[in-house]
């Protein structure tokens, strides 16, 4: 790891003033679970780290049944999954946080960090760049080792998958994200926050280098049943092979409206509108859940080694719907 300056502001204003206008020149340190490994691998080479953990207003969870949930960006995954209202009202979110396998990561990793962590694509992590192209601009992924890569939104040039554990659940639940920068605060729907980079040097989200996420808000969830199901091939610390979060607005046994969002399958958390459409007005059954799984992967395209992920994504959607409708924790 290279040497770096270290700053520990106590307000978001100080933090923003310490950031710069170039990515990777200055790094934002919260839980550090991703940033430090990027620095050790020499993928990220910041000359300064701005440690934001001391900013009090970015901590804590507030909940009011009428207005919903406000999650400080510095809330840890463990705090989130242990929060009584999150467990009760937003099971998809609690389950997504629980799925992050390892107490150490859950205790250190933050909600803001989960949303901003960089892709696990091994070409990116081996120093071949986020878009993993050779010197002639040809993708290394398409003819390479792609068993964990994207099956949706993969027409290029990005083939990595978004690694966020919480984003699918938060998007399904209608979350918004608040960021702070030199021009003050702005707020966007979390779904709009993630983007697919089109050229080298672009990020996979709309944050600017001198902005920080300050909080996430989630609307009230009364009458909403939600769940997250992630397919893990082992119990030990591992990334899901595919994951799905669903939020169902129910009237009795009937779904009035649905949001289905897939994780680990596309360069962005994948909002599966076809599945939402299919579910609206239906009574939940095994068959309906299965059909929604098939609809969720509309347009999926396998690379040379990842056709199995299409099946896993369908199953994740099916199981998340059944889990949500049964209200299983």
């Amino acid at each position: 790891m290279r040497a770096f300056e270290y700053a520990s502001p106590t307000t978001k204003e100080q933090a923003a003033a310490l950031l710069g206008d170039k990515w990777d020149d200055i790094g934002i340190l919260a839980g550090g679970t991703d940033l430090l490994s990027l620095m050790k691998d020499d993928i990220s080479k910041p000359r300064r780290l701005v440690d934001i953990k001391g900013i009090k207003e970015m901590q804590g969870i507030r909940h009011a049944p009428a207005t919903g949930l406000r999650i400080g960006a510095l809330v840890t995954l463990q705090e989130l999954l242990e929060h009584a209202a999150v467990k009760k009202e937003y099971p998809a979110l609690a389950q997504a946080a629980t799925g992050v396998a390892s107490m150490q990561l859950r205790n250190a990793g933050t909600v803001g960090g989960d949303l901003c962590q960089r892709p696990r694509c091994w070409y990116f992590r081996n120093g071949n760049g986020l878009l993993a192209q050779d010197s002639s601009g040809k993708s290394l992924v398409v003819d390479g080792e792609n068993k964990y890569h994207a099956i949706l939104g993969n027409s290029g040039p990005a083939y990595f998958v978004n690694p966020s554990s919480l984003a699918p659940a938060l998007i399904a639940l209608g979350a918004r994200i608040k960021v702070y920068g030199p021009k003050g605060s702005r707020e966007v729907a979390l779904e709009q926050f993630f983007t697919t980079p089109q050229k080298d040097g672009e990020r996979e989200y709309l944050l600017k280098p001198n902005e920080i996420i300050t909080e996430i808000t989630v609307p009230a969830a009364s009458g909403v049943r939600s769940a997250t199901y992630a397919v893990h091939e082992r119990e030990a610390l591992d990334w899901p092979l595919a994951a799905a979060s669903v939020a169902l607005k129910m009237s009795g046994t009937k779904i009035t409206s649905a949001r289905v969002v897939l994780g680990q399958v596309a360069p962005i958390p994948w909002a599966a509108a076809e599945a939402d459409k299919l579910l609206a007005g239906k009574v939940v059954s095994e068959q309906v859940a299965k059909d929604a799984g098939a609809a969720a992967v509309t347009g999926a395209r396998a690379l040379s080694q990842n056709a199995y992920k299409i099946q896993l994504a369908k199953v994740a959607v099916k199981r998340a719907i059944l889990q949500a409708s049964e209200g299983r924790a």
Binding site: V231, E233, L241
Partner: protein
């Protein structure tokens, strides 16, 4: 359910042990051997302690340095057989040198002494005895040193040819291709067992790593870059504690096994897990998944080739 059987050689390698009994009662065993985590130190200490009638903590084992007498490299499950034989002979010879120095004080023939429970005594007459410390004090200022060897090939204290059977019970999620091992039963012989806990632990460890290679371990090379894409513990996947089921170990014991001598157990129990687990998966889903590890993509591909379940 799936089953696999295995066999292995395991004859001890050439080994030399220099055992020293000091006037203060301390004992050292020096061998140019090594402990890969399989219990070499423990085994040497147990053999020497039992021979000298001392507790295990009375023996200082010195290994891992080329200044010590030559002892073979650890490979082919040959270490325990080799170091046990050389240690046994060195301890027997060192003890008989000690008996010669001590015999006059006990008014006995050296050949008529025995070392039992931390004492040197006249055989069958515990009344005529010295504590180990008192006995060693008779050495004056000169330690006794003896060297014992295992000659490998025809050595009569070691042997070869172990056998084992392992059975695996698995659950396969046929929608996701995820395999979970529910239970493993392992039966193993290995001749004379030096230490039961260490032997059982070796088998448990072998099965743990066996589950890893059966389900997860895969070196991924990019053929264009010529680089390994997963040179880390993140994507070179190993089983974690949650992936390991109850493991029942049964070791064949008795005088027939003891008479064979000491045989290595390093590798034998890691041979079967892959086959037992793969056979169990075949038994569960009705189609052979032809290569390890049994990852979800391969399970689903095999099921699809077969045309689905049943």
């Amino acid at each position: 359910m799936g089953l696999s059987i295995h066999t292995w050689g395991g004859r001890g390698h050439q080994s030399e042990n220099r055992t020293t009994i000091y006037p203060d009662g301390s004992v050292s065993c020096e061998l140019g051997s090594q402990d890969l985590g399989t219990g070499t130190r423990t085994v040497i200490a147990i053999v020497a302690a039992e021979t000298l009638g001392l507790p295990v903590e009375g023996i200082t084992v010195k290994i891992g340095d080329s200044k010590y007498p030559k002892s073979g490299g650890s490979g082919g499950s040959t270490t325990v057989g080799g170091v046990s034989a050389s240690t046994r002979r060195a301890s027997v010879d060192a003890l008989s040198l000690l008996f010669q120095k001590v015999a006059p004080a006990l008014g006995a023939d050296p050949a008529n002494l025995e070392a039992v429970g931390g004492r040197i005594q006249v055989k069958g007459d515990p009344g005529k005895s010295l504590t180990w410390k008192q006995a060693c004090a008779k050495l004056g200022v000169t330690p006794v040193v003896a060297t014992g060897k295992c000659i490998g090939g025809r050595d009569e204290l070691t042997n070869q040819g172990v056998g084992g059977v392992q059975m695996a019970e698995v659950t396969v999620d046929v929608e996701t291709g995820v395999v979970k091992v529910d239970k493993i039963v392992a039966v193993q012989d290995m001749g004379l067992v030096i230490d039961m806990t260490t032997a059982e632990s070796q088998i448990t460890g072998a099965i743990t790593m066996g589950i890893s290679y059966a389900l997860f371990e895969l070196k991924i090379m990019d053929e264009h870059l010529g680089r390994m894409m997963n040179p880390n513990m993140e994507f070179y996947k190993l089983a974690g504690i949650g992936d390991i089921p109850p493991i029942d170990v049964y070791i064949v014991t008795g005088s027939k096994q003891d008479d064979r001598g000491v045989i290595g157990l390093g590798e034998p129990p890691v041979i079967s897990p892959g086959a037992a687990i793969a056979n169990a998966v075949t038994n569960a889903i009705g189609v052979r998944v032809p290569s390890l590890p049994l990852t979800p993509d391969r399970i689903l591909a095999a099921l699809e080739k077969k045309g689905g379940l049943s």
